[in-house]
């Protein structure tokens, strides 16, 4: 029989899950420069739905948790290149060198255009995670591996005060090792492409005067929609381009999966237990000696042995032995 036993019922986890799910909200923003244009996002979101299920194979399933976006503002800024007339060179017969002609540019400076549509209504994601609790022993005397895939994430989380740094003493670590993480990547509807294209067209058109001057400029820049696609290096489908932008360039999709996986997996323990565990802190006592001279009493610690975690279909049980 174990010295210490703590058990939490599935029902308690489920109720706590609902409260946590309803309480978690997040906000993030970032922007990246891609040369001729900048793209950024400002997102706010929350969670809905989903369930927690303890399974008899020692695993926990968080199923069909919906990621809902209250705001999904996408900002696209264009640095429109010079629109100029004239220019070019005349090939002259030898010995006269080729003569190159000046250009006259339509605008005094390169105009910038930016749009910030809110795409919240067009984005929806779902997360399912299954993992099993795993106990690992952290031996502080063992140097970290040369290639430490967790180091970067841990350092990032430590710097952000999300987790405490790993200590200089041994610890038991309880991880939730993911069996699978199923997270929908960003997938924007077709309508988003039109939305952005129209917004950009309107923004660029607003720069131009009317009449024949506008026609001339459009002739030079080759049509606004075509021009913008060329400028942004967008292939045919803006919605696909946008999905790639968020999933790969911004790395939000991959980052979410990576974070969930590494956070709950090998890198970041859910629970840490010091070994040995301090039961009485070190103390400076002035009552041990008759003289009243202060004495620093060493802390009282007990070793923790055989820490284990298991899950069945009704509860999660953590057990350990102390002393020994």
């Amino acid at each position: 029989m174990a010295d210490l036993t703590v058990a939490v019922s599935e029902s308690a986890f489920q109720r706590l899950f609902v409260v946590l799910r309803d309480s978690i909200r997040w906000e993030a923003q970032d922007s990246t420069s891609f040369g001729p244009f900048t793209a950024g996002y400002h997102v706010k979101g929350h969670l809905e739905g989903g369930s927690v299920d303890f399974r008899s194979d020692n695993s926990v399933l968080i199923d069909e948790l919906d990621v809902r976006w209250d705001q999904f503002q996408f900002t696209l800024g264009l640095d429109i290149p010079e629109i100029c007339v004239g220019g070019g060179c005349i090939n002259m017969p030898w010995p006269i060198p080729d003569i190159c002609l000046p250009r006259w540019c339509v605008f005094s400076a390169n105009p910038d255009v930016s749009i910030s549509p809110d795409l919240a209504a067009f984005v929806a994601q779902e997360l399912s995670v299954a993992g099993r609790p795993v106990v690992r022993y952290y031996d502080a005397s063992v140097p970290p591996p040369l290639i430490d895939p967790c180091g970067l994430l841990r350092d990032m989380l430590v710097n952000a005060s999300v987790i405490d740094p790993f200590p200089d003493h041994n610890q038991w670590h309880i991880h939730l090792n993911p069996d699978f993480i199923d997270l929908d990547l960003f997938d924007f509807a077709d309508i988003v492409g039109n939305l952005i294209e129209n917004a950009l067209t309107a923004a660029v058109t607003a720069l131009l005067p009317g009449g024949w001057v506008r026609n001339l400029i459009l002739a030079i820049i080759g049509g606004i929609a075509d021009f913008i696609r060329w400028l942004l290096d967008i292939p045919d489908e803006i919605d696909e381009w946008l999905s790639d932008l968020f999933n790969i360039s911004f790395g939000l999709g991959d980052l979410l999966i990576q974070l969930v996986g590494e956070f709950f997996g090998a890198c970041v323990p859910l629970l840490r237990v010091d070994d040995p565990l301090e039961v009485l802190a070190k103390e400076i006592s002035t009552s041990v000696l008759l003289s009243g001279a202060p004495v620093e009493l060493v802390p009282v610690t007990v070793p923790v042995r055989n820490l284990s975690v298991r899950v069945d279909d009704v509860e999660m049980v953590v057990q350990a032995d102390v002393g020994g």
């Binding site: 100029c84 007339v85 004239g86 220019g87 070019g88 060179c89 005349i90 010995p95 006269i96 060198p97 080729d98 003569i99 190159c100 002609l101 000046p102 250009r103 006259w104 540019c105 339509v106 605008f107 005094s108 400076a109 390169n110 105009p111 910038d112 255009v113 930016s114 749009i115 910030s116 549509p117 809110d118 939305l195 917004a199 309107a202 923004a203 607003a206 720069l207 005067p209 009449g211 024949w212 001057v213 026609n215 001339l216 459009l218 002739a219 030079i220 820049i221 080759g222 049509g223 606004i224 929609a225 075509d226 021009f227 696609r229 060329w230 290096d233 292939p235 045919d236 489908e237």
Partner: protein, 255 residues
Amino acid sequence: MSSNQKQATLNRALFAQRSFDSSRITVLSTLIHRFEEAGDFEVFISRTNRTPLRLLITVVDGDAPYQHNLDLSSLQNPKERDCCRDGANLRLHVGGVLGFFTSQGVSTFQVRIVRLGSKEKQVFLNHAEQIPAGDFFTVTPLRPGIYRVSDPLNKAEMALKVVMPPLPEEGKVEKGAKTKGERTASTYRPDQPVLVSVGKKGFDRREVSLLSGQTLVFQVQSAARLRVDLEKEDEAVTAPPKKRPDKPARTTKQT
């Protein structure tokens, strides 16, 4: 949805230009002088009602560029009390050219080039009077219509037709037809100048047609004084779709 844009002023002078005269440099026109001999030259650039700016040009038969294009509107204005404030000194290779143009505004400029070192000041260029043989004058008309090109010194005349380039059909981009980073073939690029020579026998052709924004280059073979005037404005004149011209092989630095 929100959008915003940085303020960029439209270069309105470009669209107001209706005529060109080789005796005055305005936007969309360029005077190009060719230096055939080595030596030191003084260039006086006069702006309407202002003290002229003086530049020194050293033409050498050695390591020097073959061309400088001077944007006269960006050259600093000399102070009123100075007679001829020194501007930048330029070096040019023998046979090289100096282009004068103004990129913006409605000011007009006149250029006079004299040679230094000889007892008598030898005026090489005073385009207010005429453009010497061997020089070039360019115009880049934007307004579509029919222009009259004339040279009273050579008693020459020519018609210039400026048409709008074909407008791309918006929203008709074929999916899958576009390769990443490549613009469509229908894009018009105005950097293909047309060369016309003018000599004692007049212009080498009777009529020239340009797309709006294209440049007409006059190669002066006999001293000339050129004028290009819009006679009949026609905004509806539009050219048929044209294949995208190739990108020019080289560009030059504009000073």
